[in-house]
Protein backbone atom coordinates (compact mmCIF):
# COMPACT_ATOMS: atom_id res chain seq x y z
CA UNK A 1 0.00 0.00 0.00
CA UNK A 2 1.34 3.40 -0.98
CA UNK A 3 1.92 6.01 1.70
CA UNK A 4 -0.35 8.96 2.33
CA UNK A 5 1.74 11.29 0.15
CA UNK A 6 1.48 9.09 -2.86
CA UNK A 7 -2.22 8.49 -2.42
CA UNK A 8 -2.83 12.18 -1.90
CA UNK A 9 -0.96 12.97 -5.11
CA UNK A 10 -2.92 10.33 -7.00
CA UNK A 11 -6.20 11.87 -5.85
CA UNK A 12 -5.11 15.31 -6.99
CA UNK A 13 -3.69 14.12 -10.32
CA UNK A 14 -6.86 12.25 -11.20
CA UNK A 15 -8.93 15.38 -10.54
CA UNK A 16 -6.51 17.35 -12.63
CA UNK A 17 -6.54 15.01 -15.59
CA UNK A 18 -10.28 15.32 -15.90
CA UNK A 19 -9.87 19.05 -16.11
CA UNK A 20 -7.09 18.90 -18.72
CA UNK A 21 -8.74 16.21 -20.82
CA UNK A 22 -11.57 18.52 -21.68
CA UNK A 23 -9.88 20.33 -24.51
CA UNK A 24 -7.31 19.35 -27.13
CA UNK A 25 -6.41 22.79 -28.35
CA UNK A 26 -3.90 24.47 -25.99
CA UNK A 27 -5.45 27.90 -26.04
CA UNK A 28 -8.88 26.35 -25.51
CA UNK A 29 -7.50 24.43 -22.55
CA UNK A 30 -6.17 27.65 -21.11
CA UNK A 31 -9.41 29.56 -21.51
CA UNK A 32 -11.52 26.70 -20.28
CA UNK A 33 -9.34 26.17 -17.24
CA UNK A 34 -9.43 29.87 -16.51
CA UNK A 35 -13.23 29.90 -16.59
CA UNK A 36 -13.32 26.99 -14.18
CA UNK A 37 -10.95 28.80 -11.87
CA UNK A 38 -13.23 31.82 -11.80
CA UNK A 39 -16.22 29.59 -11.04
CA UNK A 40 -14.32 28.00 -8.19
CA UNK A 41 -13.44 31.42 -6.87
CA UNK A 42 -17.15 32.28 -6.81
CA UNK A 43 -17.78 28.98 -5.03
CA UNK A 44 -15.27 29.68 -2.32
CA UNK A 45 -16.74 33.16 -1.80
CA UNK A 46 -20.17 31.58 -1.42
CA UNK A 47 -18.66 29.05 0.98
CA UNK A 48 -17.32 31.85 3.16
CA UNK A 49 -20.73 33.56 3.11
CA UNK A 50 -22.47 30.30 4.11
CA UNK A 51 -20.13 29.79 7.03
CA UNK A 52 -20.71 33.36 8.19
CA UNK A 53 -24.50 32.90 7.99
CA UNK A 54 -24.30 29.69 9.96
CA UNK A 55 -22.13 31.31 12.56
CA UNK A 56 -24.59 34.17 12.95
CA UNK A 57 -27.44 31.76 13.47
CA UNK A 58 -25.52 29.99 16.22
CA UNK A 59 -24.61 33.30 17.80
CA UNK A 60 -28.27 34.35 17.84
CA UNK A 61 -29.12 31.10 19.55
CA UNK A 62 -26.39 31.66 22.08
CA UNK A 63 -27.84 35.12 22.83
CA UNK A 64 -31.26 33.59 23.32
CA UNK A 65 -29.87 31.00 25.68
CA UNK A 66 -27.99 33.69 27.63
CA UNK A 67 -31.27 35.52 28.12
CA UNK A 68 -33.05 32.40 29.26
CA UNK A 69 -30.25 31.78 31.78
CA UNK A 70 -30.94 35.16 33.36
CA UNK A 71 -34.69 34.59 33.36
CA UNK A 72 -34.45 31.12 34.84
CA UNK A 73 -32.13 32.40 37.51
CA UNK A 74 -34.54 35.19 38.45
CA UNK A 75 -37.39 32.74 38.50
CA UNK A 76 -35.49 30.38 40.74
CA UNK A 77 -34.85 33.26 43.20
CA UNK A 78 -38.48 34.32 43.10
CA UNK A 79 -39.65 30.78 43.69
CA UNK A 80 -37.28 30.39 46.61
CA UNK A 81 -38.36 33.71 48.10
CA UNK A 82 -41.92 32.43 47.82
CA UNK A 83 -40.97 29.33 49.74
CA UNK A 84 -41.31 27.08 46.70
CA UNK A 85 -38.05 25.14 46.67
CA UNK A 86 -39.55 22.57 44.29
CA UNK A 87 -40.13 25.20 41.61
CA UNK A 88 -36.73 26.75 42.24
CA UNK A 89 -35.15 23.35 41.67
CA UNK A 90 -37.01 22.90 38.40
CA UNK A 91 -35.92 26.30 37.18
CA UNK A 92 -32.30 25.54 38.10
CA UNK A 93 -32.47 22.22 36.28
CA UNK A 94 -33.55 24.03 33.13
CA UNK A 95 -30.80 26.52 33.71
CA UNK A 96 -28.17 23.77 33.86
CA UNK A 97 -29.45 22.29 30.62
CA UNK A 98 -29.38 25.69 28.94
CA UNK A 99 -25.83 26.23 30.21
CA UNK A 100 -24.65 22.97 28.67
CA UNK A 101 -26.20 23.90 25.35
CA UNK A 102 -24.53 27.26 25.54
CA UNK A 103 -21.12 25.70 26.07
CA UNK A 104 -21.66 23.42 23.06
CA UNK A 105 -22.67 26.39 20.99
CA UNK A 106 -19.52 28.26 21.93
CA UNK A 107 -17.38 25.37 20.76
CA UNK A 108 -19.32 25.16 17.51
CA UNK A 109 -18.97 28.86 16.87
CA UNK A 110 -15.21 28.51 17.34
CA UNK A 111 -15.11 25.62 14.88
CA UNK A 112 -16.98 27.64 12.28
CA UNK A 113 -14.60 30.51 12.95
CA UNK A 114 -11.69 28.19 12.08
CA UNK A 115 -13.45 27.07 8.88
CA UNK A 116 -14.03 30.65 7.91
CA UNK A 117 -10.34 31.46 8.36
CA UNK A 118 -9.28 28.50 6.26
CA UNK A 119 -11.67 29.33 3.46
CA UNK A 120 -10.65 32.95 3.47
CA UNK A 121 -6.99 32.06 3.19
CA UNK A 122 -7.82 29.54 0.46
CA UNK A 123 -9.69 32.25 -1.40
CA UNK A 124 -6.72 34.57 -1.13
CA UNK A 125 -4.31 31.95 -2.49
CA UNK A 126 -6.61 30.93 -5.31
CA UNK A 127 -7.10 34.54 -6.26
CA UNK A 128 -3.36 35.16 -6.45
CA UNK A 129 -2.79 32.00 -8.49
CA UNK A 130 -5.61 32.78 -10.90
CA UNK A 131 -4.11 36.19 -11.48
CA UNK A 132 -0.69 34.61 -12.16
CA UNK A 133 -2.31 32.04 -14.44
CA UNK A 134 -4.15 34.72 -16.37
CA UNK A 135 -0.98 36.60 -17.21
CA UNK A 136 0.93 33.40 -18.04
CA UNK A 137 -1.85 32.26 -20.31
CA UNK A 138 -1.64 35.45 -22.33
CA UNK A 139 2.14 35.12 -22.61
CA UNK A 140 1.84 31.49 -23.69
CA UNK A 141 -0.80 32.27 -26.30
CA UNK A 142 1.19 35.15 -27.74
CA UNK A 143 4.73 33.82 -27.68
CA UNK A 144 4.88 30.07 -28.07
CA UNK A 145 4.28 27.56 -30.81
CA UNK A 146 1.68 24.89 -30.18
CA UNK A 147 4.24 22.27 -29.10
CA UNK A 148 6.05 24.56 -26.70
CA UNK A 149 2.80 25.91 -25.39
CA UNK A 150 1.64 22.40 -24.49
CA UNK A 151 4.56 21.95 -22.10
CA UNK A 152 4.15 25.32 -20.46
CA UNK A 153 0.40 24.88 -20.16
CA UNK A 154 0.98 21.56 -18.47
CA UNK A 155 3.16 23.22 -15.83
CA UNK A 156 0.88 26.16 -15.18
CA UNK A 157 -2.27 24.05 -15.23
CA UNK A 158 -0.83 21.50 -12.83
CA UNK A 159 0.14 24.25 -10.41
CA UNK A 160 -3.24 25.89 -10.48
CA UNK A 161 -5.10 22.58 -10.63
CA UNK A 162 -3.50 21.57 -7.38
CA UNK A 163 -4.69 24.79 -5.80
CA UNK A 164 -8.16 24.17 -7.22
CA UNK A 165 -8.29 20.70 -5.66
CA UNK A 166 -7.00 22.15 -2.40
CA UNK A 167 -9.66 24.87 -2.41
CA UNK A 168 -12.29 22.31 -3.43
CA UNK A 169 -11.42 20.23 -0.38
CA UNK A 170 -11.59 23.29 1.88
CA UNK A 171 -15.03 24.14 0.48
CA UNK A 172 -16.26 20.58 0.90
CA UNK A 173 -15.07 20.34 4.49
CA UNK A 174 -16.57 23.70 5.38
CA UNK A 175 -19.83 22.60 3.77
CA UNK A 176 -19.91 19.35 5.74
CA UNK A 177 -19.14 21.21 8.94
CA UNK A 178 -21.78 23.86 8.23
CA UNK A 179 -24.40 21.20 7.53
CA UNK A 180 -23.59 19.46 10.81
CA UNK A 181 -23.92 22.75 12.66
CA UNK A 182 -27.20 23.58 10.95
CA UNK A 183 -28.56 20.21 12.00
CA UNK A 184 -27.48 20.78 15.59
CA UNK A 185 -28.77 24.33 15.60
CA UNK A 186 -32.09 22.98 14.34
CA UNK A 187 -32.13 20.45 17.17
CA UNK A 188 -31.52 23.15 19.80
CA UNK A 189 -34.26 25.29 18.27
CA UNK A 190 -36.62 22.35 18.52
CA UNK A 191 -35.69 21.91 22.15
CA UNK A 192 -36.43 25.56 22.80
CA UNK A 193 -39.69 25.41 20.87
CA UNK A 194 -40.78 22.19 22.55
CA UNK A 195 -40.25 23.99 25.83
CA UNK A 196 -37.56 21.69 27.11
CA UNK A 197 -35.15 24.54 27.61
CA UNK A 198 -37.45 27.44 28.15
CA UNK A 199 -40.64 26.01 29.53
CA UNK A 200 -40.57 28.54 32.29
CA UNK A 201 -39.64 31.53 30.26
CA UNK A 202 -41.10 30.95 26.81
CA UNK A 203 -44.34 32.38 25.61
CA UNK A 204 -47.27 33.46 27.74
CA UNK A 205 -48.12 31.81 30.99
CA UNK A 206 -46.06 28.83 31.90
CA UNK A 207 -46.58 26.71 34.94
CA UNK A 208 -43.88 28.48 36.88
CA UNK A 209 -45.20 31.87 35.87
CA UNK A 210 -48.65 30.92 37.10
CA UNK A 211 -47.42 29.54 40.35
CA UNK A 212 -45.16 32.51 40.90
CA UNK A 213 -48.04 34.82 40.06
CA UNK A 214 -50.09 33.01 42.63
CA UNK A 215 -47.37 33.32 45.23
CA UNK A 216 -47.02 37.01 44.56
CA UNK A 217 -50.80 37.43 44.62
CA UNK A 218 -50.89 35.73 47.98
CA UNK A 219 -48.06 37.93 49.17
CA UNK A 220 -49.90 41.00 47.95
CA UNK A 221 -53.03 39.92 49.75
CA UNK A 222 -51.01 39.38 52.91
CA UNK A 223 -49.44 42.80 52.52
CA UNK A 224 -52.82 44.43 51.95
CA UNK A 225 -54.20 42.61 54.94
CA UNK A 226 -51.34 43.83 57.10
CA UNK A 227 -51.88 47.35 55.86
CA UNK A 228 -55.61 47.18 56.57
CA UNK A 229 -55.00 45.67 59.96
CA UNK A 230 -52.61 48.49 60.74
CA UNK A 231 -55.13 51.10 59.57
CA UNK A 232 -57.98 49.54 61.47
CA UNK A 233 -55.77 49.22 64.52
CA UNK A 234 -54.62 52.84 64.15
CA UNK A 235 -58.22 53.95 63.62
CA UNK A 236 -59.28 52.18 66.75
CA UNK A 237 -56.44 53.84 68.66
CA UNK A 238 -57.44 57.26 67.28
CA UNK A 239 -60.99 56.76 68.44
CA UNK A 240 -59.76 55.97 71.88
CA UNK A 241 -57.73 59.19 71.91
CA UNK A 242 -60.73 61.17 70.76
CA UNK A 243 -62.76 59.91 73.59
Amino acid sequence: MAGLFERMSLVIRSKLNRLLDRAEDPSETLDYSYEEQLKLLQNVKRGVADVVTSKKRLQLQADKLEQSLVKLDTQARDALAGGREDLARQALERKTLAQQQLQDLDVQVQQLEAQQEKLTSSERQLNAKIEAFRSQKEVIKAQYSAAEAQVRIGEAATGIGEQMADTGLAIQRAKDKTEQMQARAGAVEELIEAGTLEDFTAGDQTQLDRELAQISAEKQVDAELDRLKAEVGAGAGQKELDR
Binding site: M8, V11, E36, A128, M164, D166
Partner: protein
Protein backbone atom coordinates in the same frame (compact mmCIF):
# COMPACT_ATOMS: atom_id res chain seq x y z
CA UNK B 1 11.43 19.77 -3.67
CA UNK B 2 8.10 21.49 -3.27
CA UNK B 3 5.59 20.23 -0.75
CA UNK B 4 1.98 21.29 -0.33
CA UNK B 5 0.26 21.33 3.02
CA UNK B 6 -3.36 20.84 1.98
CA UNK B 7 -5.38 23.86 3.02
CA UNK B 8 -2.35 25.96 3.87
CA UNK B 9 0.02 26.41 0.96
CA UNK B 10 3.30 25.31 -0.59
CA UNK B 11 6.82 25.15 0.84
CA UNK B 12 10.25 24.44 -0.60
CA UNK B 13 12.14 21.78 1.40
CA UNK B 14 15.55 20.12 1.32
CA UNK B 15 16.39 16.42 0.94
CA UNK B 16 17.09 15.89 4.60
CA UNK B 17 13.63 17.05 5.51
CA UNK B 18 12.19 14.90 2.76
CA UNK B 19 13.73 11.80 4.33
CA UNK B 20 12.21 12.63 7.68
CA UNK B 21 8.84 13.21 6.06
CA UNK B 22 9.01 9.90 4.24
CA UNK B 23 9.63 8.10 7.50
CA UNK B 24 6.64 9.81 9.09
CA UNK B 25 4.58 9.01 6.02
CA UNK B 26 5.14 5.30 6.51
CA UNK B 27 4.08 5.62 10.15
CA UNK B 28 1.04 7.69 9.21
CA UNK B 29 -0.06 5.08 6.70
CA UNK B 30 0.34 2.38 9.35
CA UNK B 31 -1.77 4.43 11.78
CA UNK B 32 -4.44 4.86 9.15
CA UNK B 33 -4.48 1.14 8.36
CA UNK B 34 -4.78 0.41 12.10
CA UNK B 35 -7.59 2.98 12.31
CA UNK B 36 -5.67 4.69 15.09
CA UNK B 37 -6.87 8.27 14.80
CA UNK B 38 -4.77 9.80 17.61
CA UNK B 39 -1.61 8.29 16.08
CA UNK B 40 -2.59 9.47 12.61
CA UNK B 41 -3.23 13.00 13.90
CA UNK B 42 0.07 12.93 15.72
CA UNK B 43 2.05 11.90 12.62
CA UNK B 44 0.30 14.45 10.43
CA UNK B 45 0.91 17.16 13.02
CA UNK B 46 4.59 16.28 13.12
CA UNK B 47 4.84 16.49 9.33
CA UNK B 48 3.09 19.84 9.28
CA UNK B 49 5.28 21.18 12.04
CA UNK B 50 8.49 20.10 10.30
CA UNK B 51 7.46 21.67 7.01
CA UNK B 52 6.32 24.89 8.64
CA UNK B 53 9.47 25.18 10.75
CA UNK B 54 12.06 24.24 8.19
CA UNK B 55 10.45 24.78 4.82
CA UNK B 56 10.50 28.02 2.91
CA UNK B 57 7.00 29.20 2.05
CA UNK B 58 6.23 29.86 -1.61
CA UNK B 59 4.42 33.04 -2.52
CA UNK B 60 0.70 32.79 -3.27
CA UNK B 61 1.10 33.63 -6.94
CA UNK B 62 3.61 30.86 -7.70
CA UNK B 63 2.22 28.24 -10.07
CA UNK B 64 4.61 25.35 -9.42
CA UNK B 65 3.30 21.83 -9.02
CA UNK B 66 4.17 20.05 -5.77
CA UNK B 67 6.32 16.95 -5.53
CA UNK B 68 4.65 15.99 -2.31
CA UNK B 69 1.16 16.63 -0.98
CA UNK B 70 0.38 16.26 2.73
CA UNK B 71 -3.26 15.90 3.83
CA UNK B 72 -4.77 18.35 6.34
CA UNK B 73 -3.59 17.69 9.88
CA UNK B 74 -7.08 17.92 11.39
CA UNK B 75 -8.63 15.32 9.13
CA UNK B 76 -10.75 12.72 10.89
CA UNK B 77 -10.24 9.05 10.12
CA UNK B 78 -13.61 9.07 8.39
CA UNK B 79 -12.61 12.02 6.22
CA UNK B 80 -9.24 10.45 5.48
CA UNK B 81 -10.93 7.28 4.33
CA UNK B 82 -13.32 9.26 2.17
CA UNK B 83 -10.46 11.32 0.77
CA UNK B 84 -8.73 8.23 -0.60
CA UNK B 85 -11.82 6.32 -1.66
CA UNK B 86 -13.59 6.40 -5.01
CA UNK B 87 -16.31 8.46 -3.38
CA UNK B 88 -13.73 11.20 -2.86
CA UNK B 89 -13.80 14.08 -0.42
CA UNK B 90 -12.51 16.55 -2.99
CA UNK B 91 -15.20 17.60 -5.44
CA UNK B 92 -14.44 16.77 -9.07
CA UNK B 93 -12.95 19.50 -11.16
CA UNK B 94 -14.43 21.41 -12.81
CA UNK B 95 -16.64 22.48 -9.98
CA UNK B 96 -20.07 23.59 -11.05
Amino acid sequence: MIVRLMGEGQYRIDDELLNQLNELDVQAQAAMDAEDEPALDDKLDQMWQLVRDRGEQLSDDELSASDLIIPPSDLTLEETRKLFSDEGLIPDLPVR
